[in-house]
Amino acid sequence: MTPALPYYLTLSAILFAVGMMGVFTRRNVLIVFMSIELMLNSVNLAFVAISRHLNAVNGQAIVMFVMAVAAAEVAVGLAIIIAWFRNRESVDVDDLSLLKW
C-alpha cells in the first residue's frame, strides 16, 4: 500500500517552502534560479501523487510538460544571466536594482 495522498502533498509543500526560502535568502542569482526550479519540481511531485491517487494519467502528462517548460526556462534564464553578467560583472541579485521607484 502506498502512503496516502496527504503525505505527498505535505512533502511537496515543504519542498515548495524550501525553494521559496532559497529565493528569499540566497544572493547568488544562479542559486535563486535553482530554488525556483525546486519550487516547480515540488509541484511536479504533487501532480504525480494526485494523478496516482485519482488513478488518472493526465497529472503525469502535466509533469512532462512542466519539465519541458522548465528546461526551456532554464536555458533562457541562463542566457539572460550571462548577458547581464557581461554588462554588470555580478551575479548578486541585490545588484539587480538599477530600476526602482
Partner: protein, 701 residues
C-alpha cells in the same frame, strides 16, 4: 439614379474637403488650390443634393412625406434608447439642402476672391467646408440627437469664423459673445430634447425602443399620448433654443457683432443658412407646435416674438452707418418674419421666405463685401457715395437685391413677404395686429435698404476718393455699445494688410474680380426669379390663368399636411381681400422707397441735412441700449457672482483639492517606497499577498 448612402455622401463630401485642406491646404495646396478644392467638394455635395432631390421628386406624393431614409449606422444603443445615425431627405430637408449647398457653393466661389492674400487662406476654407457639412448634418438628421449635434457643430464653426481674424480684439470678442449667447439658447434647446426624451419614455409602451426620431416623436404626439402641457413646455424650450441660434428677442444681440467675421461668412452663416436653423427646427417639429401652440394673451408666442423682433431690428437698422450692421439687423428682422410665419402655422410661407431671403440677403452681403473689397474694407456708409460709377456690376446686383428685399413685385421678396403677411392677417384677431406690425416693418425694411443703397451707390462721398486713407481707426464709432476702446472697426487686421500689400491701398474704388461679381449675378438672378418660380400666389394664377403655381406649396404639402393636420394655409380669404393685402404691402414698400429718396436721394448728398433728425435719435443709434441693459443686468452681476465663485473656488475648493492632492501624493510616495528595485522585496510582496489570499480562502470560506 441613386446609390446606397447617397445622403451620407452629401454630408461626407464637405467634411472630406475640410480634412483635405486641414492636412494639405497650408503646406501643398496654398492659395488658389485650397479654395478650388473646397469649392470642388462643396459643388460635389450640391450635385449629389440635386441628384437626391430628383430621386425624391420622382416618388409619389404620399411616399414623399416619409422621404428617403438613409440609416447609416446604429449609433447609440443602450437598452430602450436606440439612436441611429440616420439621415432623412423629405421635401422640407430637400429645400434646405439645396439652399445650403447651392448658396454655400456660390459663397465658396466668392470667398476664393474675397480671401485673396489672407495668410490663413486654407484654414478659412477648412472652416467653411466644415460648416457646410455640419449644416447638412443639422438639416438631414432624422432625430433630435443628430439635429443637436449639427446644431452645436454649426455653432462651433460660427464661433471659429466670427473670430477668424482673431488678432483683432473686437473679432475675438464678437466670437465669444456669439458663443456665449448661443450657449444660453442651446441650454434651453438641450433641456427641450431631454424633456422630449422623458416624455417619450412615459408615452411609449414599456420596452418599445425610443428612437427620438422626428417621425416617432411626431406620431406619438399626434396620437395624443403626451399631455398637452408637456408638449407646450417642450415647444417653448425648443423655441428658446431657436431664439438663440436664429437671433430673436431676447437673444438677438450676438448677430450684429458677428459681422466681425469675413463677409462671406456673414453671408453664408449669418444670413443664408445657420441662422435659419431655428425656423427649420420649428418647421421640422411642427406637429408639436400645432398640437400645443404656446400662446400669450391670444398671440402665438412664436409669431409674437417674431413680429416684435422684426419691427424692433428694422427700427435699429434705420439709422446704422455700418453697411454690414444694417444688413445684420435686416437679417434679424427678416428672421422675425419667418418666425411670424411659422408661428401662425404658415410653414410653407416661412420656408419660402427662408429660401428667397437666402438669395437676396446673400447677394446683399456679398455686394457689401464687394464694396468693402473695392474700398479697402471701409464699412462706414458716410464715407461712400457714387459707387455706381466705379463698381457697375456690384451696383446693379445690389440694386436688384435691394428691390427684392424691399418687397417690390415681381422680385422674390415680395411674394414671400406678402404671403407671410396674408397668413398672419387671416389668423384671427391677434393676426391683424401681427399683420400691422409686419406691414410697418415692411415699410421700414424698404426705407433702410434704399437709404443704404442711395448713400452707397448714388450721390457723392463726403470726402472724395483717393484722399481718404484706407482704414482710418479714428472714425467716430457709431455704436456706443461696442464695449471696449479697442474695438476698432473693420479696418485693421490681416485681411486689410494683405489687401494693401496687394496694391489696393488708397486710390479709387475698383470693381471686384470676376468670380466675385459672377456670384453676385447668380444670386441676383435668383432674387429676381426665385419668387414667382417657387411661390406664385395661387389666387392670382386661379384668377388669371397664368401658368405659374405655388411650386413650393405643392412640394411641401406631404410634410405639413399629413395626419389631419392642415395648418392654416391660404385659400380662406376672398380674392378682394387678398388683392387688398397685396396692395398694402406694395404700398408700404413703395412708401419706404419714396421716403428714402426724399431723405437720401442724390439731391441731398452728401450732407443729408433733412435726415439728421432721424439719424441723431439716440435711442435708435444706441440700438435701444439693449447691450448696455444686458451688461448692467446680466453681465455685471455675473461678474460679481464670478468674483464670489472665484473666492470660493480659491479658498474652499482649491483647499479641498490641494488636500486631496497632498493625500494622493503622500500615499503615492509611501507605496512608491516599496518599489525598492530589490527582487527579494518583490518576492516577499508576492508571498505576503499569497499568504493573505490563502488565509482568506482557507479560513474564511
Amino acid at each position: 439614379m441613386t446609390f446606397p448612402h447617397l445622403l451620407f455622401f452629401i454630408i461626407l463630401l464637405p467634411f472630406l474637403g475640410a480634412l483635405v485642406n486641414a492636412f494639405w491646404g497650408k503646406r501643398y495646396l496654398r492659395e488658389p488650390n485650397a479654395g478650388r478644392v473646397a469649392v470642388l467638394f462643396a459643388a460635389g455635395s450640391f450635385a449629389l443634393s440635386v441628384l437626391a432631390v430628383m430621386n425624391l421628386a420622382q416618388m409619389p406624393a404620399a411616399q414623399r412625406g416619409v422621404g428617403i431614409v438613409d440609416r447609416v449606422y446604429p449609433w447609440i444603443y443602450m437598452g430602450r434608447f436606440q439612436i441611429d445615425f440616420s439621415l432623412t431627405l423629405d421635401p422640407l430637408s430637400a429645400v434646405m439642402i439645396l439652399v445650403v449647398t447651392g448658396v454655400g457653393t456660390l459663397i465658396h466661389i466668392y470667398a476664393m476672391g474675397y480671401m485673396h492674400g489672407d495668410p490663413l487662406y486654407s484654414r478659412f476654407f477648412v472652416y467653411l467646408n466644415l460648416f457646410l457639412g455640419s449644416m447638412l448634418v443639422l438639416v438631414l438628421g432624422s432625430n433630435f440627437i443628430l439635429l443637436y449635434v449639427g446644431w452645436e457643430l454649426v455653432g462651433a464653426c460660427s464661433y471659429l469664423l466670427i473670430g477668424f481674424w482673431f488678432e483683432r480684439v473686437s473679432a475675438a470678442k464678437a466670437g465669444m459673445k456669439a458663443f456665449v449667447v448661443n450657449r444660453v439658447g442651446d441650454y434651453g434647446f438641450a433641456i427641450g430634447i431631454f424633456l422630449t426624451f422623458v416624455a417619450m419614455t412615459m408615452a411609449l409602451p414599456p420596452g418599445a425602443p425610443i428612437e427620438m426620431s422626428f417621425r416617432q416623436v411626431s406620431e406619438v404626439v399626434a396620437a395624443g399620448a403626451v399631455p398637452m402641457i408637456t408638449v407646450m413646455i417642450i415647444c417653448l424650450l425648443l423655441f428658446w433654443g431657436a431664439t438663440g441660434k436664429s437671433a430673436q428677442i431676447p437673444l438677438y444681440v450676438w448677430l450684429a457683432d458677428a459681422m466681425e467675421g469675413p463677409t462671406p461668412v456673414s453671408a453664408l452663416i449669418h444670413a443664408a443658412t445657420m441662422v435659419t436653423a431655428g425656423i427649420y427646427m420649428i418647421a421640422r417639429t411642427h406637429v408639436l407646435f400645432d398640437y400645443a401652440t404656446p400662446t400669450i394673451g391670444g398671440f402665438p408666442v412664436v409669431a409674437l416674438i417674431g413680429a416684435l423682433t422684426a419691427i424692433f431690428a428694422a427700427s435699429i437698422a434705420l439709422v446704422q452707418y455700418d453697411i454690414k450692421r444694417v444688413l445684420a439687423y435686416s437679417t434679424i428682422s427678416q428672421l422675425g418674419y419667418m418666425f411670424l410665419a411659422v408661428g401662425v402655422g404658415a410653414y410653407v410661407a416661412g420656408i419660402f421666405h427662408l429660401v428667397t431671403h437666402a438669395f437676396f440677403k446673400a447677394c446683399l452681403f456679398l455686394g457689401a463685401g464687394s464694396v468693402m473689397h473695392g474700398l479697402h474694407n471701409e464699412v462706414d456708409m458716410r464715407k461712400m457715395g457714387g459707387l455706381k460709377r466705379y463698381m457697375p456690376k456690384t451696383h446693379i446686383t445690389f440694386a436688384i437685391a435691394t428691390v427684392a428685399i424691399a418687397g417690390i413685385p415681381p422680385l422674390a421678396g415680395f411674394f414671400s413677404k406678402d404671403q407671410i403677411l396674408a397668413h398672419a392677417f387671416e389668423h384671427g384677431t391677434s393676426g391683424k395686429i401681427l399683420w400691422g406690425i409686419g406691414l410697418v416693418t415692411a415699410f421700414m425694411t424698404s426705407f433702410y435698404m434704399f437709404r443704404m443703397y442711395f448713400r452707397v451707390f448714388w450721390g457723392e462721398p463726403e470726402i472724395a476718393y483717393g484722399q481718404a486713407q484706407g482704414g482710418d481707426p479714428t472714425v467716430p464709432h457709431q455704436n456706443p455699445a461696442d464695449h471696449s476702446p479697442d474695438a476698432e472697426g473693420h479696418d485693421v487686421g490681416r485681411h486689410s494688410e494683405a489687401v494693401q500689400a496687394h496694391g489696393h491701398g488708397g486710390g479709387l474704388p475698383h470693381e471686384s474680380p470676376g468670380n466675385m461679381t459672377g456670384v453676385l449675378w447668380a444670386l441676383a438672378i435668383l432674387s429676381v426669379v426665385g419668387g414667382f418660380l417657387l411661390g406664385f400666389p395661387e389666387f392670382i394664377s386661379h384668377a388669371t390663368g397664368l401658368p405659374f403655381g405655388h411650386l413650393l406649396e405643392g412640394w411641401l404639402v406631404p410634410v405639413f399636411h399629413h395626419g389631419g393636420q392642415t395648418g392654416h394655409e391660404a385659400g380662406h380669404l376672398s380674392l378682394a381681400v387678398e388683392l387688398l393685402l397685396m396692395g398694402a404691402s406694395i404700398a408700404a414698400a413703395l412708401l419706404g422707397l419714396a421716403a428714402a429718396w426724399a431723405l437720401y436721394g442724390p439731391a441731398k448728398a452728401p450732407q443729408f441735412r433733412s435726415a439728421q433728425g432721424l439719424e441723431r435719435t439716440g435711442f435708435l443709434q444706441g440700438k435701444y441700449y439693449i447691450d448696455e441693459l444686458y451688461n448692467a443686468v446680466i453681465v455685471r452681476p455675473g461678474y460679481v457672482l464670478a468674483r464670489i465663485s472665484d473666492g470660493f473656488d480659491r479658498y474652499v475648493v482649491d483647499m479641498i483639492v490641494n488636500l486631496t492632492a497632498f493625500f494622493v501624493a503622500f500615499w503615492g510616495e509611501v507605496f512608491r517606497f516599496f518599489q525598492s528595485g530589490y527582487l527579494r522585496w518583490y518576492a516577499w510582496g508576492m508571498l505576503g499577498g499569497a499568504t493573505i489570499l490563502l488565509a482568506w480562502f482557507v479560513f474564511l470560506s
